[in-house]
């Protein structure tokens, strides 16, 4: 019987799907069916082992697990490389796909083809993967299998008769799926005797072993104890342990071309492991570097400040700890007149930002003040330089700006035909440029627009859900930076500019946004003993103004023997409340107010 490490009996595949279409559940079923775990060991979503992942039902990191399955008397090694489903982690999907020969395109039998289904299918096609269409949740009462198959045919040109129908929940169709994986996905090409070329597609940090490097061997063989070189960094290390996930780390003696597994090389910092790097042997006859990945691009930035200035160092430590396991997140110290010392943090998207913030609050128990998130901008200056702006405060004077550019994303919406009109209108309001409409079926359509990313992250998702009664989905991909008539809008409280409240927006939107922000601030900031002016300004020009009137009377009359301690406690409590606020001039601004700039000035409930 041939060794299972022979390429011929290996299949490498991913499951790609829109969020919530049952990817993790299907992975669990495959693990169970192949005996990687018993049903008793099985907990929901085996591959999502970050606590947050399980709680939110989403996959954040890529995972790789080796399954053994006997088909027609022959044992096969099936490497399942799990991928995140959310648009923020798109780059992780493409990373995983580059290590596979096939992909299961999973579609919910009720929801049908969604925006990320399309995006992921295109990504798989670009990687020349064999695609197996899978319709999941066929046991649902409202399953509309035939229509979904038709949608897949018309939007993705996937033949209905090629589709596997299954229910990851009940296990129906699992065997057919395993058979299809083996029969239809080609075995990896690669020569175990050629010079070593192993693709680093992910890594994670283990407290005891240091960096765990995830690899797909394209050519050659790695043995335990041998020396390897990371071609990009030039770093040469001993392979202390290698193996595969099944799903726990299972050490073995060697990994051969075509296989997927992990290496432990006594690497102390995860930042030394570059995703997309090629591992080979040291010396002159090493393999050539593989085409790597584009580094992840941080699309969204925000300021994170400790609510209590004294916790600055603790916040730094906590951010550092998180970045060890998540190199896609970056942070740099910054100072704000209003908020003191804090950090400017870069994220892949809003979900990523939310996750990092939750982890900070949960794992480090820190109370944070967050500024409104912004996208990154490019400014060509009059002096011929280019500035990359991650913080509105850094926008130079108008006179120095030759061209102000913002990120534009190509955005795909999948929705029912009756929602096309309202969504188009929404996109036009947000300065979108219409590209095309494709009909997936007589009742569902794919709508494609170019939109400023700033508009997309702002509230597009919420608006879409509300217009489409929850059924519309969207996905986007960065197209590039394009010039636009942008300005920095400042907010003045009591005549003083509050740097942390500045935003960048389109000149034509400035007035509406400015009015909305000062209006919102009026409700967030308590009245003071004096009148507080709230102003929005571009340069020196005031474009919106609100006033918080002064308190006229605050004296609760009685103060006798028994009232004294009680009142002092009340005042002390008020003081505690104020300690959490930030003072600008003599005005106390509560933490929440720093998100006031997110108010759109539009009625959110449509």
């Amino acid at each position: 019987m041939p060794k299972p490490s022979d390429c011929h009996y290996i299949r490498n595949f991913s499951i790609v799907a829109h969020i919530d279409h049952g990817k993790s559940t299907l992975a669990d079923r495959l693990l169970e069916r192949t005996g990687a775990v018993t049903a008793r060991e099985s907990r929901e979503q085996l591959l999502d082992d970050m606590q947050l992942e399980r709680e939110r039902g989403i996959t954040i990191k890529a995972r790789a697990v080796a399954l053994r399955h006997v088909h027609n008397g022959q044992e096969y090694e099936l490497n399942l490389i799990d991928t995140p489903g959310h648009v923020d982690f798109h780059y992780e999907v493409s990373r995983s796909l580059a290590c596979c020969e096939g992909a299961l395109l999973l579609v919910d039998a009720f929801q049908g083809v969604e925006a990320q289904t399309v995006a992921n299918a295109y990504a798989a096609l670009e990687n020349n993967l064999e695609m197996i269409p899978v319709v999941n949740k066929i046991d649902l009462t409202h399953a509309r299998v035939d229509e979904v198959l038709e949608e897949m045919e018309s939007s993705l040109a996937l033949a209905a008769e090629d589709a596997i129908l299954c229910s990851a929940k009940t296990g129906v169709g699992t065997d057919e799926l395993l058979e299809a994986i083996i029969e239809r996905i080609p075995p990896p090409a690669g020569d175990a005797n050629a010079p070593l070329q192993a693709m680093v597609f992910d890594s994670h940090y283990d407290e005891f072993r240091g960096a765990i490097t995830y690899v797909r061997l394209m050519n050659g063989t790695i043995h335990k104890g041998q020396k390897v070189q990371f071609l990009k960094t030039g770093m040469t290390m001993d392979v202390l342990e290698l193996g595969q996930f099944s799903p726990g780390r299972t050490p073995c003696q060697e990994l051969r071309a075509g296989q997927v597994g992990y290496l432990i090389c006594n690497i102390k910092s995860i930042s030394d492991v570059h995703i997309g790097d090629t591992i080979s042997t040291p010396g002159p006859d090493h393999g050539t570097p593989l085409e790597g990945y584009k580094p992840p691009k941080r699309m969204v930035y925000c300021g994170l400040y400790p609510a209590d200035g004294e916790n600055f160092e603790e916040l730094r430590d906590a951010l550092h700890k998180l970045s060890i396991n998540d190199p896609s997140f970056e942070f740099q110290p910054e100072t704000s007149d209003a908020l003191g010392f804090g950090f400017r943090c870069g994220f892949l998207g809003l979900l990523h930002m939310e996750i990092i913030q939750q982890r900070l609050e949960r794992e480090a128990d820190l109370d944070l003040v967050q500024t409104a998130p912004n996208v990154t901008y490019e400014i060509a200056t009059r002096h011929g330089g280019t500035l990359y702006i991650t913080n509105p405060q850094d926008v130079p004077d108008t006179g120095d700006i030759e061209e102000f550019r913002q990120p534009i994303v190509q955005t795909s919406f999948v929705l029912t035909s009756d929602c096309i009109g309202p969504v188009m209108q929404l996109c036009h309001e947000r300065r979108g440029v219409y590209l095309r409409t494709e009909y997936l079926s007589p009742t569902r359509a794919l709508l494609v627009f170019d939109l400023p990313l700033a508009e997309v992250i702002y509230d597009m998702h919420d608006r879409l859900k509300s217009i489409t009664r929850g059924y519309g989905t969207m996905d986007y991909e960065l197209k590039g930076y394009f010039p636009a008539d942008l300005v920095r809008m400042d907010i003045l409280v009591g005549g003083k500019r509050v740097d942390a409240l500045s935003i960048i927006c389109h000149r034509e939107d400035a007035e509406r946004r400015g009015r909305a922000v000062v209006k919102k601030l009026r409700t967030e900031i308590d009245r003071h003993m004096f009148e507080v002016a709230l102003q929005a300004a571009i340069g020196g020009r005031i474009i919106a103004r609100e006033t918080i009137s002064a308190i006229r009377k605050n004296v609760t009359a009685k103060c006798y023997g028994g009232d004294i301690s009680r009142k002092r406690k009340l005042w002390a409590k008020q003081r505690e409340g104020k300690k959490r606020m930030k003072s600008v001039g003599n005005v106390d601004i509560p933490q929440k107010a720093f998100l006031a700039v997110l108010d759109t000035g539009q009625d959110q409930k449509s």
Binding site: F530, K553, S565
Partner: protein, 397 residues
């Protein structure tokens, strides 16, 4: 025991006290929690319609006072409530005898009792006179039948007039309590209230803006929009109108909510605002002795139970650090219209006002909430209106 022997006894006791402690307090407060009915705005320590508890209350009070050990002569004695006047003749007599044994009054002492207008019968007046009551504080609240109904009071304007006249026959000072900014009250209505008060020529007036306190039925009715709170601007005008009219009527404004004819200020309350120490007994009563502030359990039943079981009725104690204590003295002192004598304040607390107020002082001066006046610092009219807002800032430094 003859009263004139007491001072020596007190002095003797004090000599054994730790050197840090000051002299024993010269004031005492007795809380009498009984009420016929709990008014909708009231969040004081009261028990409504439980006259059956009076004997147990008197027993417990005797026990509590016995714990103070010995008797202490006081300059001021204040019976508050609740409604002390609710007690029938016999228990009232008992109350006075228990208390005066523990706290004999100095010869020129002030003995105040809070009285509900309808309770003051000629018999009760006689008893109060015999007990040596020098000051009657009448819970008038309003002369307007509609307002009294809203406030759930059981008297009429005429009851107040009758009670004032009767109180005058024996008490040196008669004071009226008044509430303004009651639901839907107009400036005109408040003006008429003030006129009605002045017509009676009281020696003293305390007036409070109605506050909606958590836990009262007014609070929940306000939240359900069943009651209409007077807007801030009107409240401000009402307060200013009170200051103007009462002053014109010969009542000097001497504390944020208190007004008196010359020689009729409430000495007991002035003690509170000076940061003086005082004894206290009764459910929910708060005392200030030897630098410590402590408060009894607010539930009358628990207070009785604890004393019966030989346990302490106190539920909260705090001893303030010099700094906090000084701040408290400052805040209380500024409630008095004459303000604080800076040198005197520093001598007494070891801190200067500017030290304690820091940046806030500059801001207050700029906003004209306080002024320096000779060696004194005092609130301006605007400062009085915003004083509660100011205090929360004092504590921020």
């Amino acid at each position: 025991m003859p009263q004139d022997e007491m001072p020596q006894l007190t002095a003797g006791m004090e000599s054994t006290a730790p050197p840090s402690s000051q002299l024993a307090p010269r004031a005492a407060y007795i809380h009498v929690p009984f009420c016929a009915h709990r008014c909708g705005y009231c969040n004081f320590t009261v028990v409504a319609n439980r006259q059956d508890l009076i004997p147990a209350y008197l027993d417990a009070l005797a026990t509590e006072l016995a714990c103070i050990s010995g008797s202490h002569e006081v300059d001021t004695l204040f019976f508050g409530g609740g409604t002390p006047s609710q007690l029938a003749l016999k228990p009232m007599e008992q109350l006075f005898s228990i208390v005066r044994e523990a706290f004999p009054l100095a010869s020129d002492g002030e003995l105040s009792v809070e009285v509900n207008p309808v309770d003051l019968t000629p018999e009760k007046a006689k008893l109060l006179a015999t007990a040596g009551v020098t000051r009657i504080s009448l819970g008038a609240q309003s002369f307007n039948a509609g307002v009294l109904r809203t406030l759930e009071r059981d008297h009429t304007g005429d009851d107040i007039r009758r009670a004032v006249n009767l109180a005058r026959t024996f008490a040196r000072s008669v004071s009226l309590d008044l509430i303004f900014a009651t639901p839907d009250q107009t400036i005109g209505a408040w003006e008429r209230e003030l006129a009605a008060v002045l017509e009676l020529e009281p020696d003293h007036v305390s007036t409070y803006g109605l506050t909606y306190e958590r836990g009262t039925s007014f609070w929940s009715r306000l939240n359900k929009s069943e009651l209409n709170e007077i807007n801030e601007e009107t409240q401000r005008q009402m307060y200013l109108l009170a200051i103007e009219r009462l002053a014109a009527g010969g009542l000097e404004h001497y504390e944020i909510s208190n007004f008196a004819r010359s020689g009729h200020r409430c000495r007991h309350n002035e003690g509170y605002w000076s940061g003086d120490e005082y004894f206290a007994a009764g459910p929910g009563a708060a005392r200030h002795i030897a630098g410590e502030r402590s408060t009894n359990h607010r539930s009358t039943l628990t207070w009785i139970k604890r004393l019966r079981a030989g346990q302490s009725p106190i539920t909260e104690r705090e001893t303030l650090l010099a700094h906090d204590k000084a701040r408290e003295t400052l805040v209380l002192g500024l409630r008095r219209i004459e303000g604080i004598d800076q040198r005197e304040f520093q001598r007494k607390t070891g801190f200067t006002a500017s030290e304690l107020l820091g940046n806030s002082l500059n801001q207050w001066l700029r906003l004209r909430l306080v002024v320096f006046d000779g060696g004194r610092i005092r609130l301006t009219r605007n400062g009085m209106l915003l004083s509660d807002q100011m205090w929360s800032e004092v504590l921020r430094i």
